[in-house]
């Protein structure tokens, strides 16, 4: 029995905010607080969608386009990445490359929207966002290509479907390296510690949050939701790789993957509460490290 293909994106849209909540909850617990309820992100979204909007006097339509394109690209990305054993609806050979390009599109518009305000604050965030992409993209692409070589296919769904216990048994070291690389990419792409601090709004420390400073109401809601979906999508990628449960029964696999997602959320929370944020000039080293891990994995699989 096969699961309907539109499950993964729907899951992302639905559970993305939940993942955010799990991370926040974990961090709170580690800090000895109770923390917000798991439904908090959903409430925020609803509230924001109800609000009106305020736009900067200098801005053009690009400022308004930013959140929308960001959300749309995140959703499309979610529709490209399988969840556990569940193939993605838009899967095709070569979609791993498209994934990178689609995310780049979202980033591009986010940056332009930030620059549109003319506020040096948001310009700073835009600059950092654009800069870090230079290091995350190769890391991501090379990691995915290594996977492709392992699975012998250019389709994410197919290659992740192939990553079962057998694959781990065959190429454990390479896969481990890839998991590590993708974890770093996951943290960086979603503005998590140690790369970015999603909680503060202190211009010296943050990247992603500062870009959306002038967004409000539905726009901010779209931004937040899009970010959650992105988080979920990358998580799905990571979990699909790290949780090699391929029973053939999609629901079982999906359940395992869900468990994996929860674990990933907790793990992220642990990382965030145990690590300090890196100084910005050291972030590239970290990301280059991820790229290096991917390259090492490639050499392992090239043999």
């Amino acid at each position: 029995m096969t699961a309907p293909r539109f499950v993964p994106p729907l899951l992302a849209l639905a559970c993305g905010p939940g993942l955010v909540a799990i991370v926040a909850r974990t961090k709170a617990r580690m800090a000895g607080r109770v923390g917000p309820p798991l439904a908090q992100p959903y409430r925020d979204l609803v509230k924001l969608f109800r609000k009106g909007a305020v736009y900067g006097a200098t801005t053009t339509w690009l400022f308004r386009a930013g959140p929308i394109v960001g959300f749309a690209t995140a959703a499309v990305a979610a529709a490209l990445v399988p969840f556990g054993g569940l193939a993605a609806p838009l899967a095709f050979p070569g979609d791993l490359l498209l994934l990178a390009y689609v995310l780049a599109l979202g980033r591009f518009f986010a940056v332009l929207a930030a620059l549109d305000t003319g506020s040096s604050f948001e310009g700073m965030g835009a600059s950092r966002e654009a800069s870090l992409a230079v290091f995350t993209e190769p890391a991501l692409v090379l990691a995915l290509v290594a996977l492709a070589r392992l699975g012998g296919t250019l389709s994410l769904s197919a290659m992740l479907a192939g990553v079962g216990p057998a694959a781990w048994a065959a190429a454990a070291p390479a896969l481990a390296l890839l998991v590590a690389a993708l974890l770093v990419v996951f943290l960086a792409e979603n503005g998590r510690l140690p790369v970015d601090d999603p909680t503060t709004h202190l211009e010296l420390t943050m990247i992603h949050e500062v870009m959306v400073l002038d967004h409000g109401g539905p726009d901010l809601a779209l931004v937040g939701w899009g970010a959650a979906v992105r988080l979920w999508t990358f998580g799905a990628l990571l979990v699909g790789l790290a949780v090699p449960v391929r029973t053939g029964d999609p629901w079982v696999d999906a359940a395992a993957a869900l468990g994996g997602m929860v674990a990933l959320g907790v793990l992220t929370g642990l990382v965030e509460s145990s690590m300090a944020r890196l100084r910005l000039r050291h972030v590239p080293q970290l990301l280059l490290g991820a790229a290096v891990l991917s390259v090492l994995a490639l050499f392992l699989v090239l043999r």
Binding site: F71, A72, F108, L112, D116
Partner: protein, 654 residues
């Protein structure tokens, strides 16, 4: 072919007319522009007809110069390169008519003579099938563009740029000359009767240097960031958009002529391309001058094209039809795309310069609200340059990445490693390019004007807007039509990839169709989200308020995040590749006077390689000049010594 000849004739007639009417500038210019547009239209017809499958008979007329012959042919490859040449040149001419229209002086008029000649010679380069004819066209092209670059030679910087350009192109031509003469061993120098008098390795190397200099491959690119900004913008567009592509064309033609190329060619091209791409993108990030930045981005894109060719050769060597076909096809498609978006961007930059009188990003800003058409068109071009879906630049880079990914995923290391290099390079280049254009577009068009000049900017006239809009439409169209274009490209690719390209390209076409579906979904989502927001906001208050000034008491426009500050993080990371000069006048004293900070990024290769080399040669020669010391006695001694030496040499020998 007759249509093409007619087109060339019209172009030359326009040139002659301009010259004849130089005395009455207004009419001379009109004739020149008219000739250019009409000629380009005709030529476009001829080229497209060939691409659509009606072959053109080659032409071979006797030409009474040594080794010369009027040998012209219009095969798919030539036709393919003719399309951007004529399309962009025609639009640039229309644009230039208004751009230069303001100044009715003789020089501006005569520039149309050179413009028409430039277009004609570019076309001739592409269709020539005889070495002498090719060389003549090649040099005329260089000279015509040189005179266009130095149109405003009162400016010392323009003069220096012109010198650099002339010297660089002439150095390249020397290699080309030797290459072509070696290529045509035996009696004739026609391309269809080549008998290489040297090994393919040497020939390929000569071609790489000679044509690479024209195409702007690092480290032979130094003339490009000088010359392209110096020229009038419509000329910059033509030079950067299509003229440097003649170098790519010539390289391709050479590869088809030299016979079996050595195995190292493919990997070498990949590395050269990757190097040019990354370095070009980094240098572009460091520039404050809009047109200089665009010139460097041309270096970057030529790098991508060459990288694609390298992939094609690698695939050919590895017997992987997919890689071979995709590499070449992606490269060719990128040639087309780059011609369109770079032309578009230069024209847009020209409109900005025209309106504000400065090319310095730090003095611009907020132009989108003042020149919306230019802004929108430029945005399309920028997005295409950043290889963002669903635009043309994305399609071609995706093809290259696809080929590389397939090779990396399936082929033996010998082919997979170059493919991986290409893939990594493409990822870095893509991100850098995106950052670069986001920076440029954002700083120039978004935010608030940094100077009054930028504040008073105005939309240009129709003659300048129309080309922008058309080019923008073309950029988008190429992206959406990519799957079908690929099929049309097959006959061009076949001879270069050394296999029947149509089947090899079929899977890629399928992928592109799938991509098109995704893009459709994306657009639908965007529309849906936009609609939803509109619905939500319909019942709410939508206020417009000043942007929060980050807590500054009196924020000024100059406090915006500028081009320099935007690029700073990346430049810090890549500082080893760069030379960034900072001019700092720090505030000091109890009552600090005006303080200033500025950066400029001169070309490191010029600074560290070429200038020292030229200086060294000049010094060495200067040291030999004591020979002409002015003392007649010693002059006579030279004669005596020569005589004695020669006598000893001949008579002395038994």
């Amino acid at each position: 072919m007759p249509t093409l000849l007619l087109a060339l004739g019209v172009l030359l007639a326009g040139a002659a007319g301009t010259l004849a009417l130089a005395a009455v500038p207004r009419w001379g210019a009109r004739v020149g522009v008219g000739g250019a547009i009409a000629g380009c239209a005709l030529g476009l017809v001829a080229a497209v007809r060939v691409l659509l499958g009606t072959p053109a008979a080659p032409l071979h007329l006797a030409w009474s110069v040594p080794y010369g012959a009027f040998a012209l042919a219009l095969d798919p490859l030539s036709a393919f390169f003719l399309v951007p040449i004529f399309a962009l040149s025609g639009l640039a001419a229309l644009y230039g008519a208004e751009y230069l229209g303001g100044r009715g002086d003789v020089r501006a008029t005569v520039s149309w003579l050179f413009f028409d000649v430039l277009v004609a010679s570019m076309a001739a380069v592409v269709v020539a099938r005889n070495a002498v004819l090719f060389l003549v066209a090649w040099e005329v092209m260089a000279l015509a563009s040189f005179f266009l670059v130095t149109l405003d030679d009162e400016d010392e910087r323009v003069r220096r740029a012109g010198w650099t350009y002339l010297v660089a192109t002439h150095l390249g031509s020397a290699f080309v000359l030797v290459l072509l003469l070696l290529l045509g061993g035996g009696g004739s120098l026609d391309f269809d009767r080549v008998a290489p008098a040297a090994g393919p390795g040497l020939l390929v190397a000569l071609g790489l240097v000679g044509f690479g200099a024209k195409a702007g491959l690092v480290p032979l690119h130094v003339w490009l960031p000088e010359a392209h900004p110096a020229a009038p913008s419509h000329v910059s567009a033509v030079m950067s958009g299509v003229m440097i592509k003649t170098g790519v064309y010539a390289l391709l033609r050479t590869l088809t002529l030299v016979g079996p190329v050595p195995g190292w060619t493919g990997p070498l091209l990949v590395c050269l391309g990757a190097g040019s791409g990354v370095l070009g993108a980094v240098f572009a990030l460091a520039q404050r001058d809009v047109k200089r930045m665009l010139a460097y981005s041309s270096v970057e894109n030529v790098g991508i094209v060459v990288l694609g060719l390298g992939l094609g050769l690698v695939g050919r060597a590895a017997g992987a039809p997919g890689l071979a076909a995709l590499g070449v096809a992606g490269a060719l498609l990128h040639v087309l795309n780059h011609a369109l978006f770079k032309g578009l961007l230069f024209l847009g930059a020209g409109a900005v310069v025209h309106a504000t009188g400065t090319r310095d990003m730090e003095r611009l800003g907020g132009l989108y609200r003042r020149m919306p058409t230019v802004g929108a068109a430029t945005l399309v071009g920028a997005a295409s340059l950043a290889a963002l879906p669903p635009l043309g630049g994305f399609a071609s880079e995706l093809l290259l990445a696809l080929g590389a990914a397939e090779a990396a995923a399936s082929l033996a290391p010998a082919a997979a490693v170059p493919a991986l290099v290409a893939l990594g390079a493409l990822a870095v280049i893509g991100a850098l390019g995106a950052a670069g254009v986001a920076r440029t577009f954002g700083v120039v068009f978004l935010g608030t004007p940094r100077t009054p000049a930028a504040g008073h900017a105005h939309e240009p006239g129709l003659a300048m807007r129309l080309p922008l809009v058309l080019l923008a439409a073309a950029c988008a169209g190429l992206g959406l039509a990519a799957p079908w274009l690929l099929a049309a490209l097959a006959p061009v690719v076949t001879p270069l990839a050394g296999l029947d390209a149509a089947p090899a390209l079929a899977p890629a076409a399928a992928t592109l169709r799938a991509v098109a579906v995704v893009e459709a979904v994306l657009l639908a989502l965007v529309a849906g989200a936009a609609g939803a927001r509109r619905a939500l906001l319909a019942r709410r208050t939508v206020a417009v308020a000043p942007v929060w000034g980050c807590g500054w008491a009196a924020p000024t426009a100059r406090m915006q995040y500028g081009a320099t500050s935007f690029a700073e993080p990346l430049l810090r990371t890549f500082r080893t590749l760069l030379v960034v000069r900072r001019r700092i006048a720090a505030p000091g004293g109890p009552f600090p006077a005006a303080a200033s900070f500025g950066t400029e990024a001169p070309d490191p290769y010029r600074l560290r390689v070429w200038d020292p080399a030229f200086r060294g040669v000049r010094r060495g020669l200067a040291r030999l000049r004591w020979l002409q010391h002015g003392e007649v006695q010693l002059y006579v001694l030279y004669i005596a010594a020569t005589l004695v030496v020669l006598l000893a040499w001949t008579v002395g020998r038994p």
